[in-house]
Symmetry: C2
Subunit: 198 residues, 2 copies
């Protein structure tokens, strides 16, 4: 890349591999790091390495953790009879912030024939094993309200249905603070379907 | 941050310190790195450290470089009588892409009384020294067309003016591919002022 030093160029290329980071943001981030104190930049680099070295998947819920079982699965204060099934570890983060007090099961993907992802590629076998071993009373299907997320939820419902465990699906509707005017029609019809007495 | 492993949480915090990276993108980037191959993630971390360890400021133009003088200043094919003055090293990158064949001088900031940045905080003394030592025939003032960039250009014009060196300012006007309808009035009036025979 023309008159730019090699180490600058190399880091710009690395940043560009990250999702949502284009050539301009990659350059901006790189030049920002140049101006940051050395200790802080090194701590950042070490945090990246630690992420890969210290984390593994929890053998119970398949969430990302430094311990196995993870500290949600090994906690004494969580309601282990409610298992919330999510697509990705990132979604555990979101649900934790919302105050959910049950435990999780991370599928690590969704069923997506177009991308060659079938049920056998997800942590579904592990989920069935948990249902046999643990005392689970409710499965909350919290895959995304997308086509693939819905298909995966539907697949799990059919698969687990015969086990007579209560299965619920997170609600779809208007986001809090949202505006009817800007909601798409599918979301609106879901919000209507899911209406409750008031 | 609730039920999230320490190394994940730490890296999210580091990402959040970068410009334009909010809590959600920081989490997304972190979880993306978890899925990336270990070698690639380690190469990324090493590139960050290299950036700080291998780069320094060129003693001539104050651009960021691995060598001193930088390979623009030490190149035999550049026109060293034209010096383009920019605010930040990142802008050298942009100008290099545009095909500029002179050399640079990086101020490392703009005059900004509100942020307590005066002329003495910028590489202006170094620029004056270059004007004494080197055979420079033209100074291209390429600070940004912002209030602070204009003020800095004006300051340099007054300071260097008496030395009877040709001074030019990059043109302001409509961006290529832009639309008159969406241009702000100041840009439009600049575009009109700067009109040329056609």
């Amino acid at each position: 890349m023309y008159g730019v030093s090699k180490s600058v160029q190399k880091l710009i290329e690395h940043f560009q591999k990250l999702p949502g980071v284009g050539p301009k943001s990659a350059a901006r981030l790189t030049y920002y790091l140049i101006r940051m104190p050395k200790e802080e930049v090194f701590a950042f680099a070490d945090a990246i390495k630690d992420l890969k070295e210290k984390t593994k998947l929890c053998s119970i819920c398949a969430n990302i953790s430094e311990e196995d079982p993870c500290h949600i699965c090994s906690s004494g204060t969580r309601n282990k009879s409610i298992v919330c099934v999510v697509e990705e570890p990132l979604q555990v983060l979101a649900l934790e912030k919302s105050g959910f007090k049950g435990v999780y099961h991370v599928l690590h993907g969704v069923i997506s024939p177009l991308n060659n992802v079938g049920p056998e590629d997800l942590k579904i076998r592990e989920l069935l094993n948990r249902l046999k071993k643990e005392k689970i009373t409710e499965i909350v299907l919290a895959t995304n309200p997308t086509m693939e997320g819905e298909a995966t939820a539907m697949y799990l419902k059919k698969l687990i249905g015969p086990l007579t465990i209560r299965m619920t699906r997170i609600a779809s509707g208007l986001p809090v603070g949202g505006d009817l005017e800007y909601a798409d029609e599918v979301t609106l019809s879901r919000a209507l379907e899911g209406r409750r007495d008031y």
